[in-house]
């Protein structure tokens, strides 16, 4: 159960190798935290995760292998997690791929959508179902500004995030009144392992900035959080800019 400072007692991280996802878990941790479940494709080592996430010794760290493309298995996955740790206070959907080169190959592009969008929808619905039954809990979805308006340089990725984003805000509307919530997070360029070596875009930030914005957004019961916050207004304008202006901005 979450307390009045919005500190969770349980956290589920879908996408254990995400720097942003990990930063969120570390930021949300407090003496309240009882258990963390990490879902990633290759399993993972609980002891190593405990140290990488900077969690106290009394926090139960559970690894539950998670495959974003195993859509049929997502409900059962959620049930297994509930079986082990009880109610889910905060779930972070942080898995995803950049899909460099997806634009050059239909099969790669489809595979990217399968992970980033279909996987997000399938796991998101399974989680939303559980949170709705609990009557409380928050699903934190790591979307991206790349989905707000797509650019030539990463349009397949952008498209996959656009799908995830629309689903996530829609799920939030669907869960309204049940006590369960969804927080859609739209970061700009984040300096992380996933973007290592790429040229930074303007208004970039670190995973810890995203984590702080998420904690703040949870406390204020926000539905959407942009990181950095100014991007809300930047894209408020840019979304409506004529196409030739938008394309000029793409590097």
């Amino acid at each position: 159960m979450i307390n009045a400072f919005h500190r969770p007692q349980t956290i589920v991280l879908l996408g254990g190798r995400s720097d942003i996802g990990r930063a969120i878990v570390t930021e949300l941790a407090s003496p309240q935290l009882r258990a963390v479940v990490v879902g990633q494709r290759d399993g993972g080592d609980p002891a190593a995760l405990r140290s990488e996430l900077a969690l106290a010794d009394d926090v139960d760290v559970v690894v539950e292998p998670f495959d974003a493309t195993d859509h049929d298995g997502h409900r059962a996955w959620v049930a297994r997690v509930v079986e082990q740790i009880g109610d889910l206070d905060v779930v972070v959907q942080a898995f995803g791929e950049l899909g460099l080169g997806a634009a050059d190959d239909p099969a790669s592009a489809a595979a990217l959508i399968d992970v980033n969008t279909v996987g997000a929808v399938s796991s998101g619905l399974a989680i939303g179902e559980r949170l709705g039954k609990q009557g409380y809990g928050v699903l934190v979805v790591l979307s991206s500004v790349a989905g707000v308006r797509t650019r030539a340089s990463n349009f397949v990725y952008g498209a996959s995030k656009a799908g995830q984003d629309a689903f996530s805000t829609g799920l939030a509307a669907r869960l309204a009144g049940s006590g369960a919530r969804v927080l859609t997070v739209r970061p700009g360029f984040v300096r992380s392992a996933m973007t290592d070596g790429m040229e930074e875009a303007p208004f970039s930030c670190d995973p810890s900035d995203v984590a702080k914005a998420v904690t703040d957004g949870l406390r204020r019961r926000r539905s959407v959080v942009w990181v950095p916050g100014v991007l809300r207004y930047v894209f408020g304008l840019l979304s409506h800019a004529p196409e030739f202006v938008w394309r000029r901005l793409d590097r």
């Binding site: 159960m1 979450i2 307390n3 009045a4 400072f5 500190r7 007692q9 003496p31 309240q32 109610d87 939303g128 709705g132 039954k133 609990q134 009557g135 409380y136 669907r174 869960l175 009144g177 049940s178 006590g179 406390r219 204020r220």
Partner: protein, 440 residues
């Protein structure tokens, strides 16, 4: 998707029958400051109130009320008949059932103990659907005695209280004779509270923004129910209807406000309020004026804005006045505007396993939830309170973790065992029970 749905049931055993795996909790008027009467994903049952649910045995000075009846409704029935409730908190809008489940205290704890100490019997719905009458007089070690000490103060987690029979205090008038004093600092305040401890009712309001030599400056009010003779001297016009009780409420604070209670507003308010209090004066006050000042303004919580506020209340033992001083220093130094800080003396602990009061000092703070640094401040106060041998009040709590509660309530394991014995299938559940790991 499940949403909140309401249905009407004949009694709480029907609620039990309808309930699913997330169980049932009874809810009174929802005056607990945290999640005591909430049950996410589960069932919340409310019992009916109304003055018709109150019966008074005029000869013995005992009242029986349905659990959903509020203390406001009880007072409207009993005051004109020359009685008062044995214990009232700072609002009269709590139910009789809630008063027992939280084992509430008032300004007279050092003399009269908790509400539970005045209860003669109660009707309790158990997890198996049966209705059982329990009293404080059962043999120690018996099932009934175990149920008693687990239910009074048990936050509704042993069953639904359906009716309560409790003793009343005889009064000659509906006014109180009150001594109001301005006290310049904490040491002086503690002296004066001890010096006036023969007064039945005593409470101090501390200005938490006063620093340095004024740290802990306060307005102390002590008093008792006014006798007819004293009322005739203090307020002759009140003698036309000495047992009148007709409280008014001012309009509600409107919704949608931002937080009005920032540091500057609170500092200004505290200054005026402190200066306005007499240095030393005796007056006759109405029940609402003396016991329930916050009831005079509706929805006052809205003045804290959308992030709302939380209340932090703890007790530290008699010898721990240093810890008290340190708490006040830390809160003051943090710059967090606490509009309301109340200090009371507590008398001896009762028998009930999760009952909050024990001999010593209890301080209550209202703090805006969204203010910077509040979480770290309260975590540091938690440590301080526990180290001094103190504990926190479940009816106010919205932030504690299980370890903080276990440390403060050494009888918790025994309580859990009794609870489990009478509710092995976890039919009674609440968000508080889940958060604080009370339901095994």
């Amino acid at each position: 998707m499940p949403t909140v749905a309401e249905s009407l049931v004949a009694d709480s055993s029907d609620a039990l029958a309808l309930a699913g795996e997330r169980g049932v909790i009874a809810r009174g008027l929802g005056r607990a400051y945290g999640d005591a009467a909430q049950n996410a994903g589960g069932t919340v049952v409310q019992l009916p109130g109304g003055r018709v649910g109150v019966r008074v045995d005029q000869a013995r000075g005992v009242a029986t009320a349905q659990a959903g009846v509020s203390l406001d409704e009880v007072l409207r029935v009993v005051v004109p008949k020359g009685w008062f409730v044995p214990v009232t908190p700072g609002t009269r809008f709590v139910t009789v059932g809630g008063a027992v489940a939280a084992d509430i205290h008032g300004k007279n704890h050092h003399v009269d103990g908790t509400f539970g100490a005045h209860v003669e019997s109660l009707a309790l719905r158990l997890a198996d659907g049966s209705l059982r009458t329990i009293t404080p007089h059962a043999d120690p070690g018996s099932d009934d005695h175990d149920l008693w000490i687990a239910t009074v103060g048990g936050m509704g987690l042993t069953g639904v209280i359906e009716a309560v029979t409790f003793r009343l205090i005889p009064i000659e008038t509906s006014r109180c004779e009150v001594l109001t004093e301005r006290v310049p600092d904490l040491d002086r305040l503690i002296e004066r509270i001890i010096a006036t401890e023969s007064s039945r009712y005593s409470v101090a309001w501390i200005d938490l923004l006063a620093t340095g030599t004024s740290l802990g400056r306060a307005v102390l009010t002590t008093g008792d129910h006014a006798t007819k003779d004293r009322l005739a001297e203090l307020s002759p016009q009140a003698m036309t209807d000495p047992l009148a009780f007709a409280p008014r409420t001012l309009p509600d604070v409107p919704p949608g406000l931002p937080n009005l209670l920032n540091r500057f507003a609170v500092r200004a308010f505290n200054e005026v309020w402190y200066r306005k209090a007499p240095t030393h004066a005796i007056t006759a006050e109405s029940i609402t004026g003396f016991f329930h000042p916050l009831d005079m303004i509706g929805s006052w919580n809205r003045a804290y804005g959308p992030a709302g506020f939380l209340q932090y209340q703890f007790v530290v033992p008699d010898g721990a006045t240093d810890a008290l001083r340190t708490v006040i220093e830390r809160v003051t130094a943090s710059g967090n505007a606490s509009f309301l800080a109340v200090l009371k003396r507590f008398g001896a602990e009762g028998d009930c396993l999760l009952s909050f009061p024990k001999s010593g000092w209890t301080l209550t703070l209202d703090l805006p939830t969204g203010a910077a640094g509040i979480e770290a401040l309260l975590r540091s106060l938690d440590e301080l309170v526990l180290d001094a041998g103190g504990r926190h009040y479940l009816a106010k709590d919205a932030i504690a973790n299980p370890a903080t509660i276990a440390a403060g309530y050494p009888k918790l394991d025994r309580w859990r065992e009794i609870r489990h014995r009478f509710d092995p299938d976890r039919r009674w559940q609440s968000d508080l029970g889940r958060r604080l790991d009370l339901i095994s």
